[in-house]
């Protein structure tokens, strides 16, 4: 087993200060580990992988890992990722975002990235809250949950990320959790290798800003909650009473070319036409 941790150590930047900036029990480090393992499993070279992160806790992941890393502005990770992918389609571009990044301020970019199917993997670390700014509700905060900006309980509904990105046209949509790590590894590897735009939502608890205010006694309690309430989509669909249960797994698999590929094909067709005419 030692190879798991040692492998990750090989992918960390040795000139960065550790431990990670995240709070004790934050799942972000687990997602980072999962990301590294899936990239490693796919045999991708460090030089060919670009991590484009947004702002917030999730945005800090990029600095620790020895890929090409870009820490962008809040919500705009997908736009920069789109530019990189169009400029150099050979690169594996992974946009790492939080729920605020991806679904609130960057919601427009998300649906358009899905619609145009740019060949970028969106890894969304959903912790149901704005963590870095100190615990304000986000567009994934469940109805009824508490935060500093909904001290009486959230009145708004949360986004259904799967249905949102499915409707927008994404090539792949999946959800995993930081408790179900092996599955998360597999989901991520699948998403990175499928052409077009692929979204992986990773449920990762934020005890400091979300758990404490919503009845969890510790970070461990939140992991136990993930363990007990999440089950594979196949089993979820067979349930009669789905109250409090959450499906994980792959929800959408579409066979489409990434925009960068369609662009390249169009250029080729143009060149052929030109060559043929001459």
């Amino acid at each position: 087993m030692a190879e798991i941790t040692q492998l990750i150590h090989q992918y960390l930047r040795h000139n960065k200060k550790f431990p990670l900036v995240f709070c004790p029990g934050c799942g972000h480090g687990i997602v980072l580990g999962s990301l590294v393992r899936s990239v490693h499993a796919l045999g991708l070279a460090k030089d060919d992988v670009v991590i484009v992160a947004g702002i917030g806790c999730s945005g800090r992941i990029a600095a620790y890992v020895d890929f090409n890393t870009v820490h962008t502005t809040h919500g705009r990770a997908l736009t920069v990722a789109t530019g990189i992918k169009m400029a150099n389609p050979k690169l594996t571009v992974i946009a790492v975002m939080g729920d605020g990044d991806a679904f609130s301020i960057g919601g427009n970019h998300l649906i358009h990235a899905a619609r145009r199917n740019i060949g970028v993997t969106a890894l969304v670390l959903n912790n149901f809250i704005y963590g870095m700014t100190g615990g304000q509700c986000s567009s994934t905060t469940p109805e009824g949950a508490y935060s500093h900006t909904c001290p009486q309980g959230q009145l708004e509904s949360a986004f259904d990320i799967v249905e949102l990105t499915r409707a927008a046209g994404a090539a792949g949509v999946s959800r995993g959790t930081v408790y179900h790590v092996k599955e998360l590894d597999a989901l991520m590897a699948e998403a990175i290798s499928r052409p077009g735009f692929n979204l992986v939502e990773a449920l990762t608890p934020c005890f400091t800003q979300y758990g404490r205010g919503n009845g969890f006694k510790s970070a461990v309690e939140m992991f136990k909650w993930l363990k007990s309430s999440c089950l594979s989509v196949e089993r979820y669909e067979k349930l009669e009473d789905r109250t409090g249960k959450l499906p994980i797994g792959t929800f959408v698999r579409r066979d489409v070319d990434g925009l960068e590929t369609r662009w390249a094909n169009m250029r080729q067709a143009l060149a052929a036409k030109k060559g043929g005419a001459a």
Binding site: H71, T82, G83, M86, H109
Partner: protein
Amino acid sequence: MTAPRKKRREAFLLGNEAVVEGALAAGCTFYAGYPITPSTEIMECMAKRLPHVPDGAFIQMEDEIASMGAVIGASLAGRKAMTATSGPGFSLMQEQIGYAAMTETPLVLVNVMRGGASTGLPTSPGQGDVQQARWGAHGDHPIIVLSATDVPECVEMTVAAFNFAEKYRSPVILLLDEITAHTREKIELPEPGDFEVFSRLTPTMPPEWYKPYEETMRGVPPMPPIGSGYRFHVTGLSHDPLGFPTSRPEEVRSLTERQFRKIDRFFEDIQIVEHVDTADAEVVVIAYGCVARSARLAVKQAREAGVRAGLLVLKTLYPFPRRHVEPMLRNCRLAVVPELNMGQLSREVKRVNEGYTTVRTINRIDGQIITPSQILKEIA
């Protein structure tokens, strides 16, 4: 000029179309944008041309914020990239302009100024974005702002914009106005070799020794394209020479100071102005963009009427070319600054004036160009 030369290809183009000619001549291979009047022809023309340019890529994004994001991404991946916009779109881009300045990402942004605040006058000229171009993004940051007065200059100044962006690793804003952008004039189409074209320097040391934001002789660190073996961190946070976030006062200070110094140091190279009859002038008109054209005629007419008038056309607006403006203010009894706003560049002129002379402004904000006769009235 007398030597016979090959007949060059000519075209009767809009200023906006000439920008595209300049961009392609400068080696631009990436465009991302969002349509907005009166800059849209730049985007449409790029959409037609880039599929035929080697490695060309074009993408219409969902908004101006996304356009700037894509341009930044493409530039990080090694492309010469640009976008164009106008008024409201320019406001949306400000956050990303600041990011590009902080991360020292070369790019060219053409802002075709239209009239009024907010939606204002979409099809009329204005020059109300001058101060925003300089200070629109929050926080202290250096930036280069250029302008052009006519269609041939749209080609030249776009090439200059790319060259400065690449040389100094900086976002460069080219401010046009609706009139310059929508005037058709003849240009001779640029051909390879017409212009000296600069490309950013890439590191020449082994990757392990590369420090992306290190102090160098030029103050401009080399910049490898993403994916070329130099793995480093890019962030909008204040960062140390390795590119990692830092809040240590001495590191933050030295980063910001270097960013300013790299532009200040090459001040002479960056400031582009044109002197028209200024040698013996006692009255000087200081103008830019389409208004400079009216000023040309006004100065000519003033000369014919016996007034020793001169014209200083500013093509670099920032860093403000004070070394050209200051001697004018010292030697002339009157300086006239006509512009299509309530007084934006004139603030800079007044700032460097320091009591030398009288500065008179002509301001027009009704969506119409300042006419030569309006200027003539002030100088004759």
